[in-house]
């Protein structure tokens, strides 16, 4: 026989939706003893509404935090790479490139792309005297600067035309 009184005692009316529901449909407070005044469905609906209302604000916070730390992470990684290079030397780098030719080629492509965009010393030196096709090991700095300026003028002309 069902204990009607016990069931009635365990039933609770939600203060939000006004429906009568068993106590198991209610969440406990953080003290893990007392039951909340509103049912689980209403609780979830409330949380969803709060989440939706603060979505943009929270995303902006996350974006700002990422932007503030992005360079920090990049600097940290660059410092780690530098330390590794100082410790292991160029031989380790060459060995890695030999072991991972595809990754090395991809890294080289990226480096050249960056260099082309920024007209870096590395890129301009390679244009002047490619290490695989030239015997020159040390290109005069002034020649690199002249070549860079020439390329800058050519690019500017191309843009203006």
């Amino acid at each position: 026989m069902i204990d009607v009184l016990a069931v009635e005692r365990s039933m609770k009316t939600c203060t939000v939706c006004g429906k009568e529901k068993p106590a198991s449909d209610y969440r406990l407070h953080s003290d893990k003893k007392t039951v909340m005044r509103y049912c689980n469905d209403c609780h979830l609906a409330k949380r969803r509404a709060q989440h939706a209302a603060k979505r943009e604000e929270r995303n902006a916070q996350f974006r700002a935090r990422y932007a503030a730390n992005a360079n920090g992470v990049k600097d940290k990684m660059a410092a780690a790479r530098k330390a590794k290079y100082a410790k292991q030397g160029r031989a380790a780098l060459i060995a890695w490139a030999a072991a991972n030719p595809e990754k090395a080629a991809e890294a080289q492509r990226k480096k050249m792309k960056r260099g082309r965009e920024r007209l870096s010393d590395y890129y301009v030196r390679r244009l002047l005297c490619h290490p695989e096709r030239s015997a020159v090991r040390k290109v005069p700095t002034v020649l690199i600067e002249c070549k860079r300026l020439q390329l800058m003028i050519e690019r500017e002309c191309r843009e203006k035309r």
Partner: protein, 65 residues
């Protein structure tokens, strides 16, 4: 333009003028083309001495180095 330093200064000036719109792009392109020829000839000289394993003073680059 007697040496690479003067060429560099001239190129920098041309670039600034081009940015400011003081000279036409065609004029700047001509100068850049000429500069390219001068740079190439200097490069050939540098390559030649590197192949001969010599390191004489190159007059065009002398002032800069």
């Amino acid at each position: 333009m007697k040496n690479a330093e003067e060429l560099r200064d001239e190129l920098a000036q041309t670039f600034a003028q081009l940015k400011a719109g003081a000279i036409k792009p065609s004029e700047a392109a001509e100068l850049a083309n000429l500069a390219g020829k001068m740079i190439s000839s200097a490069k050939v000289q540098v390559e030649y001495f590197a192949l001969r394993k010599e390191s004489p003073r190159i007059k065009f680059l002398e002032m800069a180095e």
